[in-house]
């Protein structure tokens, strides 16, 4: 029985596992779905293709190298890679049982393991949100994160002439990554306008003067230098409102936006590209937390107290799952969650850093919050659910004609969210499009958190593999 089980091997999960050990946990198990730790932030090529200059691709790379070394040399910490947690079983007053399949992604005959932890730390991160627009399902339209993942993890450029668009500071490292792998970035377009950016980031700047936030300013200046050196035009208050092409993207339309993100009529300008990378913030990956019974806030993030404890006894969370705040907040939250999970008292420095970077997260949300006017980017034929080809018109018609107010009934009527991704891509969009029509609900409620083969499910039922249960 592991004292502490950590799910997710990104920055938050890594620091949580080590902090749990430092604060007295006898045994810690860290489950990571990829074949190495590091998460999306420290995503890197596999061991066989290691780059001696890897540090130039990342911030805090040496921190990662030492965290990973510490995890791997600690006999009290087992790091299980290729571990896909697909389900948790709730229990009263204690953390749930956690079921994982260990083996190739989407494989078969993977090893099944069930964990019975005294404390569970969920550090499952987030995935990117992309608001739909006509043509966004053409090949050559990528999330900004996909461009970054392919650059950092594979050294592949998603296109030759690329536009980066959306909202949030994450767009800047994406531009830098694309340039490193040889793409020509023809522009970066931020949807928030100058007034919103100034108001969101600028209020009471002295509150940001605490530990470490200076590093963010240095990082920002670095990206702006890269943009200047490569003459990448940067616009604010604008968005990609359409992609054009036959079977792949050939051009995009960029329009000026009003403060509510609705396009200014007649402001559209066509730009030829062979790829466009678009991201409008992130969605916490909350499947396991929801299945465990953790309460969520109004934005779909897991609610935690100042010790990273959720509403479920013995279940803690750290990192983007608690709200989008970036790597520094994730590292600090991991330290706090790991210490508390082990029954210890978190270091005051970690608590201070957590508080400071929460402030940063609040500003991030204020400066880059999605404006409701994005809905007018869609016409009735725009695909919303990419898996099932469900259009905005079909969703609106179904909601109107059936007078359905239930998310589930709307899914069953239109098939939105019933395809392979189970609403990971369209869920928040569907929720937003039907605001005022739909009863509140969350599409992230997926009791089976990742797909598994029916044969594996049958085996699980037959063997009830409970190796770690005393």
């Amino acid at each position: 029985m592991p004292d502490v089980l950590v799910v997710g091997g990104g920055p938050a999960g890594m620091t949580a596992a080590l902090a749990a050990r430092r604060h007295g946990a006898e045994r810690v198990v860290l489950l990571e779905a990829d074949d190495d730790v590091g998460g999306q932030y420290w995503r890197h090529p596999p061991a066989g293709r290691a780059d001696p200059d890897e540090g130039e691709w990342h911030h805090h790379w040496q921190r990662f190298v030492s965290l990973r070394a510490a995890l791997l040399r600690d006999p009290g910490c087992e790091v299980v890679t290729n571990a896909h947690v697909w389900s948790v079983d709730r229990r009263d007053g204690m953390p749930p049982l956690v079921h994982a399949l260990v083996g190739e992604p989407d494989g078969q005959d993977r090893a099944q393991r069930t964990f019975d932890p005294a404390a569970l730390v969920l550090a499952t991160g987030a995935h990117e949100r992309t608001l739909p627009f006509p043509g966004w399902d053409l090949p050559g339209v990528f999330t900004a994160g996909a461009a970054q993942a392919l650059a950092k993890g594979e050294r592949v450029a998603v296109g030759r002439r690329v536009l980066v668009a959306g909202s949030g500071p994450f767009l800047l490292p994406v531009v830098a990554g694309l340039i490193r792998v040889g793409a020509q970035v023809v522009g970066v377009v931020e949807a928030s306008g100058p007034a919103r950016l100034a108001k969101g980031w600028g209020a009471k700047p002295w509150r940001l003067a605490g530990v470490g936030v200076g590093g963010k300013a240095v990082e920002l200046a670095g990206y702006l230098r890269v943009l200047a050196a490569h003459r990448v035009p940067c616009r604010t208050g604008a968005a990609v409102v359409a992609a054009h092409g036959v079977d792949r993207v050939q051009a995009v339309t960029v329009a000026r936006l009003n403060p509510d993100w609705s396009p200014v009529a007649g402001s559209g300008r066509r730009i030829e590209v062979d790829a466009v990378c678009v991201g409008h913030g992130f969605v916490p990956r909350a499947e396991l937390a929801i299945a465990a019974g953790c309460a969520l806030d109004g934005h779909g993030a897991v609610e935690v107290d100042d010790r990273q404890r959720t509403s479920v006894p013995g279940v803690l969370t750290a990192g983007e799952l608690t709200g989008i705040g970036g790597v520094d907040l994730a590292l600090a939250e991991g330290l706090v969650a790991g210490a508390v999970a082990a029954g210890g008292e978190p270091a005051p420095a970690a608590l201070r850093r957590r508080a400071v970077f929460r402030e940063f997260a609040t500003r991030l949300a204020a400066a880059h919050a999605t404006g409701p006017g994005w809905r007018s980017w869609l016409d009735d034929t725009t695909v919303v659910c990419r898996c099932e080809d469900v259009t905005a018109g079909a969703l609106r018609r179904a909601a109107g004609s059936t007078r359905s107010r239930g998310l589930r009934s709307l899914k069953l009527t239109t098939r939105a969210g019933l395809g392979l991704c189970q609403g990971r891509t369209c869920g928040r969009t569907v929720e937003d499009l039907l605001t005022g029509v739909l009863d509140p609900g969350r599409t992230a409620n997926r009791p089976i958190a990742v797909p598994l083969r029916l044969g594996e499910l049958a085996d699980h039922g037959r063997t009830g593999n409970r190796e770690d249960v005393p």
Binding site: G48, D106, Q108, T143, L150, V156, V158, D247, G419
Partner: protein, 85 residues
């Protein structure tokens, strides 16, 4: 860095050991390798396993996310058409 060869719909395609199948397909010049039931082309979208746009059949096993699966020498990759009939 080792060169590997995989079969894509029966045609040999060269790649690098450890490359994801998605990266291998993109590097070979493909931008899409699947069609939805309405016939809309799909390839990589999210790159981290969330969107399932990039699924392929690998060594006979359907619905494998190409962005997550690492290519292995000799893999047989088949481009997947969604067929709900």
């Amino acid at each position: 860095m080792t060169d590997i060869h995989v079969e894509v719909d029966g045609t040999p395609v060269a790649g690098l050991a450890g490359q994801s199948i998605a990266a291998l397909l993109l590097a070979s010049g493909r931008t899409s390798w699947r069609r939805t039931r309405e016939g809309r082309p799909r390839g990589v979208f999210c790159g981290i396993g969330a969107c399932f746009d990039c699924v392929v059949t690998v060594n006979g096993l359907r619905d494998v996310r190409a962005c997550l699966r690492r290519a292995v020498d000799g893999d047989r990759v088949e481009l997947q058409e969604d067929d709900r009939a």
